[in-house]
């Protein structure tokens, strides 16, 4: 995986500079002193009460009011060198949108975001802001809480939707060329949106029966309401993007078949849909799930409404989730909502190394999730019906830092113990889905089956076939996938413009 360059591309630098120098910006900067701005406390996100929210799947965060958003926007110092933008994988012009909020121009603000991010309501909710824009905020260097950029992004996207003012970009020229996008997840949706804006005839092929990828099967309602995703999809459809569900490229038709149907270029965003298991004895027992299966049953198949919906999910009393990333938090909080008395995170490292977003950990703690650190499963024990009943664990201690820079967990000999469980959910990551690589001759792959691309162009080893998101990264974030989709869209445009008919 390549890192984003820690410098401004010239074009972006120029745009930021021009806007920084606009009169209204100067005026806003004059209106309130830096000292006054620094004195404002970060506006907390209003939330539903933990005890209330664990009884349902409604969204935890309630969102800012316009007053709260303007107050938070006032904290932004409008730095001349806005390092926050460097932290953003899609280079949103953060200071301009924040200052437009301060001015009260919420629709103007969302337009700025949409220059480079077509799914702001999603990103405002699921991006790991503390590692990106907010992590780079000048306030952090001063030891203060960063400007709540994510909350502001979410606010303007929601405001626009509620106001019914979602504007469909004018598509200037129809290019009359067909582009196939494989996978309707964050990477594919972004690529499709950008290509449609440029005037291409875009069709997305999605394997599941609903578009959205991880946004629909993985991320639960309480973190990303499906209604929001539906609106974002409507927006794409209004731009002319066609979405064909129940179509597995590689199976229903291959890329070669689609070329014969007139598709001239492709973007593969098929994701890291294949779950890792631990390879431990007893993993085949009933009641042991991959996080993908557990979340797909609940989110996509609506098993929480069984028997109204036909797909069942067992409601465990003692649920252990192995792992501590965002998916692990989603799974454990889902288990809590399904009635678990003990919904537990079992993690081999300690609190400090948990990869989940800070907000997810906070919400999990408030909801009574139990965290069992420095503990790793060794095997699973089943009852006479082949259902998991216990998990043998070993205590861990932290040793020297490993390749990831985090201290390596080492088992403590003789510290084994048994834990009673009735559901175990493995949330230790995913690897690229093998279907397209298996059925596309000539596609070069990396170690775990990731598709190899030229990182400058996102083009694969097959000319005209581009890829991005988790199928090339092997398991990253929504926003990085979107960044890839966007980058690839521009390269596809370049490729098709230069291609001789």
């Amino acid at each position: 995986m390549t890192k984003q360059p820690a410098r401004f591309p010239e074009e972006l630098k120029k745009k930021l500079r021009e806007r920084f120098n606009e009169d209204w910006r100067k005026e806003l900067r004059r209106k309130i002193s830096v000292k006054e701005r620094l004195a404002i406390d970060r506006v907390p996100m209003p939330e539903n009460e933990p005890m209330e929210r664990i009884r349902g799947f409604f969204e935890v965060n309630k969102g800012y009011t316009p007053e709260m958003a303007m107050e938070e926007a006032r904290r932004c110092l409008d730095c001349a060198n806005p390092t926050c933008v460097l932290g953003c994988p899609v280079s949103i012009d953060i200071p301009t949108f924040v200052k437009l909020i301060e001015k009260g121009d919420f629709i103007g603000a969302v337009k700025i975001i949409k220059e480079t991010n077509s799914l702001p309501a999603v990103c405002g909710r699921v991006c790991p802001q503390e590692d990106q824009c907010e992590g780079n905020c000048a306030y952090v260097k001063m030891g203060k809480k960063p400007v709540a950029i994510g909350n502001l992004e979410r606010f303007v996207a929601d405001y626009e939707r509620a106001a019914g003012e979602v504007e469909i970009p004018q598509i200037k020229v129809q290019k009359g060329k067909k582009v196939g996008v494989i996978g309707a997840g964050p990477a594919g949706l972004t690529a499709a949106g950008e290509l449609a804006k440029m005037g291409y005839d875009v069709t997305i092929f999605e394997a599941l029966h609903e578009p959205g990828g991880v946004l629909i099967y993985g991320i639960p309602e309480f973190r990303l309401p499906k209604a929001i995703l539906k609106e974002e999809l409507e927006y794409l459809k209004k731009m002319g993007v066609k979405i064909i569900t129940d179509f597995v490229v590689g199976k229903t038709a291959t890329i070669e078949d689609l070329k014969k149907e007139g598709y001239e270029a492709f973007f593969i965003g098929s994701g890291a849909g294949a779950p890792w298991f631990l390879g431990l004895p007893g993993e085949e027992l009933n009641g042991v799930y991959s996080a993908n299966e557990y979340l797909t049953r609940v989110n996509l198949m609506r098993a929480f409404e069984f028997p109204e919906y036909d797909t069942p999910i067992p409601r465990g009393k003692r649920v252990a989730v192995i792992g501590a990333g965002n998916t692990a938090m989603d799974a454990v909080r889902t288990a809590k909502r399904l009635g678990a008395e003990h919904a537990m995170i079992v993690y081999r490292r300690s609190r400090a190394e948990m990869p989940a977003r800070i907000e997810e950990i906070k919400h999990a703690e408030e909801e009574g999730i139990e965290f069992i650190f420095l503990t790793n499963p060794k095997r699973f024990v089943g009852d006479e019906n082949g259902w998991v009943k216990q998990m043998e664990c070993v205590k861990m201690q932290l040793g020297e830092p490993d390749a990831s820079g985090r201290r390596r967990p080492i088992p403590i000999p003789g510290s084994e113990f048994l834990m009673d469980v009735d559901i175990v959910i493995i949330a230790i990551g995913t690897k690229p889905n093998p279907l397209i690589p298996q059925t596309t001759p000539g596609l070069e792959l990396a170690k775990w089956g990731e598709i190899k691309v030229d990182w400058e162009t996102m083009e694969t080893s097959i000319p005209g076939v581009f890829a991005g998101g988790d199928i090339v990264r092997g398991g990253a974030t929504v926003i990085l996938a979107m960044g890839d989709g966007r980058k690839a869209a521009y390269q596809i445009d370049k490729y098709l413009s230069e291609k001789k008919d």
């Binding site: 129940d246 991959s290 919906y309 036909d310 797909t311």
Partner: protein, 287 residues
């Protein structure tokens, strides 16, 4: 939406559905399956593609009414639609000329056996077929299987048709007759495949089985369908559904197939309360 051309009974509780799915009809090979969703609130269930007509753009499915999803399918009429179908999924059967292939099908397992046996026949194999079921009314596709078989024998548990006994008796009979068997194909209930595989192992015969675990997405995403093969975890949807019968942990498969029994009963009872005909049937009446 996928229009149903017909949906008719071919045996007790077993129906044959022909449905429009042009892309799948064009691409499918023996051994492939589809995942379908009967209606908006339905679950995703896998079914083997029994046959297809690429020109008409149709595929043929055969299913037994056992739970809510299959009863929902059973209630569909000509001209109705299936909510979703996706496929063709799974690895197609590895077909080559082995010589003499013994094709063993148990109950509704005869449906997935048929396209594979036909593929084997077309590759030049001699096909010796053993069909088994509890009773006469549950034997399906006998004529179709006979058309592609060089020899076909029927066995029923109660002796109501063919010989009285299990398919393992049928295999034993062929072995006793001194038939040189180059490959055994067995598809049916997990318990049947387990015992056929055991007998094949005792006689040093290679055997392919097709597994039917519970699935959700069917594209390798969830791992619901994981099976233990040769001590390793495999996903039936992308690594199978066919595996070397000697390597399969059938005990685990049998336990995993029962994982949702409680929920299946609850769901079907609720469903039956809306449909008197299903209720009558469940209470032992004839539909």
């Amino acid at each position: 939406m996928y229009r149903i051309i017909f949906n008719r009974p071919i045996a007790e509780r077993v129906k044959h559905m022909k449905v429009v799915a042009p892309f799948i009809a064009r691409k499918r090979k023996p051994g492939n399956f589809i995942i379908l969703i009967p209606d908006e609130k339905g679950e995703r269930i896998p079914l083997t593609i029994v046959d297809s007509d690429p020109h008409q753009g149709t595929i043929d499915l055969i299913y037994q009414e056992v739970g809510t999803s299959t009863f929902k399918l059973g209630l569909k009429k000509e001209g109705d639609y299936l909510y979703r179908i996706v496929g063709p999924l799974g690895k197609p059967t590895h077909i080559e000329k082995f010589g003499t292939v013994v094709a063993i099908g148990g109950g509704v397992g005869i449906a997935p056996l048929y396209p594979i046996a036909r593929g084997m026949k077309e590759a030049g194999n001699r096909i010796v077929t053993i069909l088994g079921a509890r009773k006469k009314d549950l034997i399906i596709l006998e004529k179709e299987m006979a058309d592609i078989s060089d020899d076909l024998r029927v066995w029923t548990d109660d002796g109501s048709y063919g010989k009285k006994g299990l398919v393992t008796h049928g295999l034993q009979e062929l072995i006793d007759e001194g038939l040189k068997i180059d490959m055994v194909l067995a598809i049916g209930p997990a318990i049947m495949m387990k015992f056929v595989a055991k007998m094949a192992a005792e006689h040093g015969l290679p055997i392919i089985v097709s597994l039917n675990p519970i699935m959700v997405d069917g594209t390798g995403m969830c791992g619901a369908c994981r099976v233990v093969v040769g001590g390793e975890i495999k996903f039936a949807c992308v690594d199978g559904p066919e595996f070397d019968g000697h390597q399969v942990d059938f005990e685990n498969l049998i336990l995993r197939l029962k994982a949702y029994r409680k929920y299946e009963v609850e769901s079907l009872e609720r469903f039956a309360s809306f449909y008197p005909e299903v209720k009558t049937y469940l209470q032992g009446g004839v539909r």
